[in-house]
């Protein structure tokens, strides 16, 4: 502790440089925490899925639809408890592209019955099921737009053109963050009616009695429609979610590569600044050695400076990332529900900070410890 003022005095030597170096470390670790959280959130959300829920999509691809009439045929299979269906609506509210949020047309009763993760007061649930033009929304949409129960909201359809007006009858709370709290659910029947009753569904959700039979039932469903005009591809809900993550996989890979490069570029610049700061003090190190400071003490002092910068910078960067996202309720415009910097990410960030301290502090610290006094003093004198 008696050397603390030496460390602080050296850090105050170029206050602006110290502040900028700390800011660089903070920025690098903030970016690291943010990028890693994108990846962990994608991964966590891809793991979401009820053990007893299967999803059937068009075998050609998820953008192709299936006849709603498949529902009864699926339901008739042994081991199937219930069937529901949904469509991606893809409407826009407002002119701002940042106003994007997901809307799904669902069969209310069967859908809510299958998703206990969507918590809704019983009276609101009943009102939603009863009224064909009603909708339920997540709480985030209430926060964002100030919508209230009973309010009419008009969404502009993009896949299904026209103005679509829904009456808000419920505000749900997701018990699993992967569900997302910025989704609007409305009646599939209303969609079907407005677009001329084509009877199409984007995908089916199949609840089964025993999760151990998932493979056999999935095969049974696909076998049933194998030779029809719209063959199905059935798998667990988790696999369905994971397929979205796979679609985003290349994006996250690229993001990971670019992000890592950015973080390391910043860290290299930071390390260089810290090493430069130590290099400038060769003469002072020689003087301190002449006074009687041991190699070990000087090694510790230089490393302590690097450690202070790394510690403060990482605390600011990681702390800011941890606090910021919950405060602004960030969810990646609906693509990253449950976005939260995990303890593991914080731990990796702290490890990165220690590595930075060692990378930037070890070289000048060893150099200071090994500095031959006479040669260094000759340069001074």
């Amino acid at each position: 502790m008696k050397y603390l003022h030496l460390v602080i005095a050296n850090l105050r030597r170029h206050t602006l440089r110290t502040i900028l170096t700390i800011a660089s470390v903070a920025l690098a670790l903030f970016l690291f925490a943010s990028l890693r959280t994108v990846l962990t959130t994608l991964h966590t959300n891809s793991q979401f899925g009820g053990a007893r829920r299967l999803v059937s999509t068009n075998a050609t691809g998820i953008v192709f639809v299936l006849p709603v009439s498949y529902a009864n045929r699926i339901k008739s299979l042994r081991g199937v408890q219930s069937v529901s269906w949904a469509n991606w609506f893809g409407g826009k509210y407002g002119e701002n592209s940042r106003d994007f949020f997901a809307q799904f047309a669902v069969d209310p009763e069967s859908y809510l019955g299958m998703y206990p993760e969507i918590e809704l007061p019983p009276d609101q649930k009943e009102a939603f099921i009863r009224e064909r033009t009603s909708a339920i929304i997540g709480k985030r949409l209430v926060d964002r737009y100030g919508w209230k129960l009973g309010q009419d909201v008009t969404i502009k359809g993009t896949i299904f053109p026209g103005d679509w007006t829904f009456t808000i009858r419920g505000i749900y709370t997701p018990t699993n963050p992967a569900i997302g709290d910025d989704v609007l659910l409305f009646h599939h029947a209303y969609l079907d009616e407005r677009i001329g009753r084509p009877g199409i569904a984007g995908w089916f959700i199949v609840e089964i009695e025993d999760e151990n039979n998932a493979g056999a039932i999935a095969k049974g469903i696909d076998d049933q429609f194998r030779n029809s005009s719209a063959a199905t591809k059935t798998g667990t809900e988790q696999a369905f979610q994971a397929s979205f993550a796979t679609m985003l996989g290349n994006v996250s890979f690229l993001m990971g590569i670019i992000g890592t490069a950015v973080v390391f570029a910043i860290l290299l610049v930071t390390a260089n600044a810290m090493m430069m700061s130590a290099r400038e003090r060769t003469a002072e190190v020689a003087v301190m050695k002449t006074i009687g400071f041991s190699n070990r003490t000087l090694f510790g002092l230089v490393l302590a400076e690097a450690g202070f910068i790394a510690l403060v910078g990482s605390a600011l960067g990681l702390g800011f990332a941890k606090l910021l996202y919950p405060v602004v309720n960030f969810n990646g415009f609906g693509f990253l529900p449950g976005f939260n910097v995990t303890t593991m990410t914080m731990a990796w960030g702290a490890l990165l900070a220690i590595l930075l301290m060692l990378a930037s502090g070890l070289v000048p610290a060893v150099r200071a410890a090994r500095l031959p006094i006479v040669q260094a003093l000759r340069r001074v004198e």
Partner: protein, 231 residues
């Protein structure tokens, strides 16, 4: 027994492919309480001798003993500890740490001791008082004149009460008035506090303040003179 004993010391440097012999069998003694000026032309080995006595450098062969301790045989770690308690070193260009106040600069050698904060404070104040800079304790080096900086450096050199004070051209960067102040201070340290002082200087006026003068030329001791008037 002499405080400083140099016995048959050889010292050579390698510069590129050329070997430069600075000392070839130098032997000399310096008594405790002496005030010795080392004089000689550039390259005569004055500063090298000072570095050997301070344990900053090692002889190629031979023995350097200070206070009976064989400095030339100590490890770098042992030397650091030994210097902290036995040597006060003053440089030509002061070499105060610019980020520390005069007080903090003087306190530096005491950080290496086990003294309490209160004891350190007491000794720093005494050292600053001895060099006449009690009122400049909170000043940074850039706020001090050259003479004041050098007096601060002397306070730093004496604060740990070392056996030996070594000064390498301490008046080399000072004006005449400041030089006189510094030299008077050194005489006082020698006379009143019985400090053993070795000063490397080119300045004949500075050398006159010492009790004895050693003239070196090409690493050889060519003259040793006692200054009767040095008071």
């Amino acid at each position: 027994m002499a405080l400083v004993e140099i016995r048959d010391v050889y010292k050579s440097f390698q510069r590129d492919t050329q070997r430069i012999d600075v000392f070839t069998g130098l032997t000399l003694d310096m008594e405790a309480g002496s005030f010795t000026a080392l004089m000689g032309p550039s390259g005569s080995g004055k500063s090298t001798l000072l570095n050997l006595v301070a344990g900053l450098d090692k002889p190629t062969s031979g023995v350097v003993r200070v206070g009976g301790v064989e400095v030339s045989a100590m490890s770098p770690g042992q030397l650091a500890g030994w210097r902290a308690s036995n040597i006060g070193f003053v440089f030509q260009s002061f070499n105060l740490l610019p980020v520390l106040t005069a007080y903090q600069n003087v306190e530096l050698p005491l950080l290496l001791t086990n003294l309490s904060g209160r004891d350190r404070d007491e000794r720093v104040k005494i050292a600053l008082d001895v060099v006449g800079l009690s009122d400049r304790a909170d000043h940074y080096p850039r706020q001090l004149s050259g003479g004041q900086e050098q007096r601060t450096a002397i306070a730093r050199a004496i604060v740990a009460d070392p056996t030996l004070i070594l000064l390498d051209e301490p008046t080399g960067q000072l004006d005449a008035k400041s030089s006189q102040e510094v030299l008077t201070l050194l005489q006082r340290l020698n006379n009143e506090f019985n400090k053993t002082i070795i000063i490397v200087t080119h300045d004949a006026h500075a050398a006159e303040r010492a009790k004895s003068t050693l003239h070196l030329e090409k690493g050889d001791l060519i003259e040793k003179r006692h200054m009767a008037s040095a008071r």
